[in-house]
């Protein structure tokens, strides 16, 4: 497979780190100056294929990261909530989001729901679309969501001035499926050989997709997969862990590097879940919006921001841990994130009865002091590795 894109590992990682460091989102301004259209997408899941089909750049707003000194953003929110809305509004106040022709906010939680109101009060002239994702898993849920996808498509067409055909939608779904397939393969390689796909490096390359056109990100992932398969890396004496709870506000890269330095190799995670969301490709045969609607209602992962009527989210976590041969589970969630944190008792109970050790961490996207994380992750890795010898 000939890679047309940057071939060496260092070039890929350097490109990804440059995009990670672009806290003021200059990439979006440059894309706009080049005549392109931009639609901002808030976490966790939005069918960004619709934006890609209209030829616009789906910019995944995953928050400010450690480089952003948020001051104005704190003015609109009380202190006891996660950091993501503060950095998004701070970016807005600084003009870093002027490039957006539209902002799409999914019904992930009450914080993002109210963010649409804050956005409207601060910037009445900038369109924002609230996507009320269905909590039902039946025909009525599909129908309600299908009507919203049609309205979203119309709104995206309006702000971009593009006419979107069924073929455009299918092509976009095809590219998204490719990305899902590549991320799946990288996931399997990491399970087989954790040293070949370090989680912090993989996170950087996946996060680059937040600001890249999907096609370009797919090429980057192809090259990265190829390089990971062919670059020998020393095997480390590490504990294999599964990370769960970081589907929305992302931990800073320093958090993930601290886990690795403390001896934890992350073999499976839900970081940037929204960029892939479905485990299997979205159907390409029937009408695209129908396909997206059915896929969401029937194939969505057991994420914390979706109502789990059947109550099988805990069992799914145990299965995922076993499938990735993880020795332990790291429940890491943003501080004050009701969605992720309220699942903890049920998840802990399931892990305990399955005999899988677990540890609970909290983070904020701008935290820079990882002393406590190092101690907890280090003790967890010690507990797994030292007792491996004695078992």
């Amino acid at each position: 497979m000939q890679c047309r894109y940057a071939v060496t590992l260092d070039e890929i990682v350097a490109r990804a780190e440059a995009l990670y460091a672009d806290t003021e989102l200059r990439t979006l301004a440059r894309w706009k100056e080049g005549g392109g259209r931009v639609v901002g997408v808030a976490p966790a899941y939005v069918p960004s294929e619709i934006v890609d089909a209209a030829g616009a750049l789906p910019a995944h707003l995953v928050g400010g990261g450690p480089g952003l000194d948020v001051v104005q953003g704190d003015a609109f929110f009380q202190s006891a909530i996660c950091h993501l809305p503060r950095s998004l509004v701070d970016l807005g106040v600084r003009g870093a989001l002027d490039a957006l022709d539209l902002l799409v906010v999914p019904s992930t939680c009450d914080v993002l729901r109210n963010l649409t109101g804050v956005w409207r009060l601060l910037w009445p002239d900038r369109p924002v679309f609230f996507l009320d994702l269905p909590q039902r898993t039946d025909a009525e849920g599909v129908a309600f969501y299908r009507e919203q996808l049609a309205r979203l498509l119309a709104e995206v067409a309006r702000v971009t001035g593009a006419t979107v055909s069924t073929d455009d939608l299918r092509r976009a779904i095809g590219v998204a499926n490719q990305r899902r397939m590549l991320l799946g393969e990288l996931g399997e390689l990491r399970i087989a050989e954790p040293a070949h796909v370090p989680a912090s490096e993989l996170h950087l390359v996946v996060r680059a997709g937040a600001l890249l056109p999907p096609r370009e990100h797919v090429e980057m992932l192809e090259s990265y997969l190829h390089v990971c398969r062919t670059t020998p890396r020393p095997r480390l004496d590490v504990a294999r862990v599964l990370l769960r709870g970081a589907f929305c506000e992302q931990p800073p890269i320093g958090f993930l590097r601290t886990l690795e330095r403390a001896g934890c190799a992350v073999v499976d995670d839900d970081l940037l879940l929204g960029l892939r969301w479905f485990g299997r490709p979205v159907d390409m045969v029937d009408e695209p919006l129908d396909a997206l609607a059915v896929a969401y209602v029937c194939q969505s992962p057991p994420a914390s921001c979706r109502y789990d009527r059947a109550g099988d989210r805990p069992a799914a976590l145990v299965d995922a841990a076993r499938a990735s041969r993880a020795q332990g589970v790291l429940l890491a969630a943003p501080s004050f994130c009701d969605m992720a944190l309220l699942d903890r008792p049920a998840l802990l109970q399931a892990l305990e009865s399955a005999g899988i050790p677990s540890v609970q961490l909290q983070y904020a996207e701008n935290s820079a002091d990882f002393g406590a994380v190092r101690e907890q992750a280090g003790t967890f890795a010690d507990a797994l590795r030292l007792w491996q010898d004695l078992a």
């Binding site: 948020v70 001051v71 104005q72 953003g73 704190d74 003015a75 820079a368």
Partner: protein
């Protein structure tokens, strides 16, 4: 001369101010609130009265009297402190030797002109450098000498006796005819401990209003007030008439307030006023965002151990204080020019500089007003209330 008294009983320091009928400051008094509230109020009030009496004299008597009063007061308190420390150390001869040698080193304090820092902080700072050597020379554990001094300081702070200004004026020979009596026509109290002041309920005013009034008096046209005190921070918005429209307070967690700077100074073994020059000499401040006051010492030790330069760490700590204050200002509705920066921490030049830098980055051209009387801002506001009340009725 009719004067109006304002007392701001802060959590860290108690400030007293006497204003004349036109609102000009006649006299100032500053002491640590560590003494109990009634004593703190009495000592600050006495100091302000003496300062006002001397202020009304013509030069050279005015500065001569102030210097003499200050030296006499310091000498008196040092002597009492020395006696108390020796009394507390009477069970151990070597500790007695160490204590008396320590007070020889502290003697220079009597003539020092550091009016900005209270007596307790001046003694603590001088002892921090001298005590180690004196203790080891006398073969006594450093901690035991310091604890004897601390216990003596606690007793000293509870002693309300103040020097009689007339005794000082007699001593430097100012004829009775030239002395102008000062009588307090009305008084008003505010601050953290205002409900425990020996004042009538009608004479008690909220901190927010006093700081608002004091700021717009010192700098007419002030629209935003930032007050960083010993353990709380206030952000106040004023309208064009100087009336309070909204405010935000951060009084649940003392992180990033004056006491934090106190811990930093203690950890580095320097005095509070020395922090600013150290921070200003840095060229790349470290990135610090946990400003828990109690952890300040540990944070510094960790950063220094990692090889960061002292001035960069201290500069980083100052910037962390400003970022925390900016967050509060943003929650209070942002910053509207001109901003008046008040409270004890406003005396720290490095915090003022860092505040100006950060404001220019986040808000366009904001004028920042800081006065040497910034720590008295609350007390001035309270005195203005007393002045307006008497003028009104």
């Amino acid at each position: 001369m009719r004067a109006f008294l304002g007392v701001d009983l802060g959590s860290t320091t108690t400030k007293a101010v006497l204003l004349d009928e036109k609102g000009g400051i006649l006299g100032r008094g500053l002491t640590n609130t560590r003494a109990n509230f009634e004593t703190a109020c009495a000592v600050a009030r006495a100091e302000a009265l003496a300062d006002a009496r001397f202020g009304l004299l013509a030069e050279p008597a005015r500065s001569g009297a102030r210097r003499a009063y200050h030296r006499a007061e310091r000498g008196r308190r040092l002597e009492h402190l020395r006696a108390r420390t020796l009394l507390l150390a009477d069970d151990d001869a070597r500790l007695q030797v160490a204590a008396s040698r320590l007070f020889e080193a502290l003697a220079k304090l009597a003539s020092a002109e550091d009016g900005a820092v209270s007596f307790r902080d001046a003694v603590a700072e001088a002892a921090a450098t001298a005590a180690e050597a004196v203790a080891t020379a006398a073969g006594v554990p450093y901690e035991r000498l310091m604890s004897a001094l601390e216990r003596a300081l606690v007793a000293d702070e509870a002693d309300p006796t103040a020097l009689d200004p007339d005794a000082v004026l007699d001593e430097i020979g100012v004829p009775a005819g030239e002395r102008v009596p000062v009588d307090v026509a009305a008084q008003s109290g505010t601050g953290y401990g205002r409900h425990r002041l020996p004042f009538a309920p009608g004479e008690i005013r909220s901190e927010i209003l006093c700081h608002g009034l004091g700021a717009s008096h010192a700098f007419p046209g002030t629209r935003t007030v930032l007050d960083i005190g010993g353990q709380d921070t206030k952000a106040i918005q004023l309208d064009e008439r100087g009336l309070v429209t909204s405010f935000q307070m951060n009084d649940r967690c003392a992180a990033g307030c004056g006491r934090y700077l106190g811990y930093v100074a203690e950890e580095l073994g320097v005095g509070l006023p020395d922090l600013a020059p150290l921070a200003l000499s840095a060229h790349c401040p470290s990135r610090i965002n946990s400003t828990c006051t109690v952890f300040a010492g540990a944070e510094i030790r960790e950063r220094l151990a990692l090889g960061e330069r002292r001035e960069d760490v201290v500069a980083g700590l100052h910037r962390a204080i400003v970022l925390r204050a900016l967050g509060l200002l943003a929650r209070a509705g942002g910053v509207h020019s001109p901003l008046t920066f008040s409270g004890g921490v406003a005396r720290n030049e490095a915090v003022v500089r860092s505040l100006r830098d950060e404001l220019s980055r986040h808000y366009r051209d904001v004028a920042v007003n800081v006065s040497t009387d910034s720590i008295f801002n609350g007390a001035v506001g309270a005195a203005l209330f007393a002045l307006r009340e008497t003028a009104a009725c």
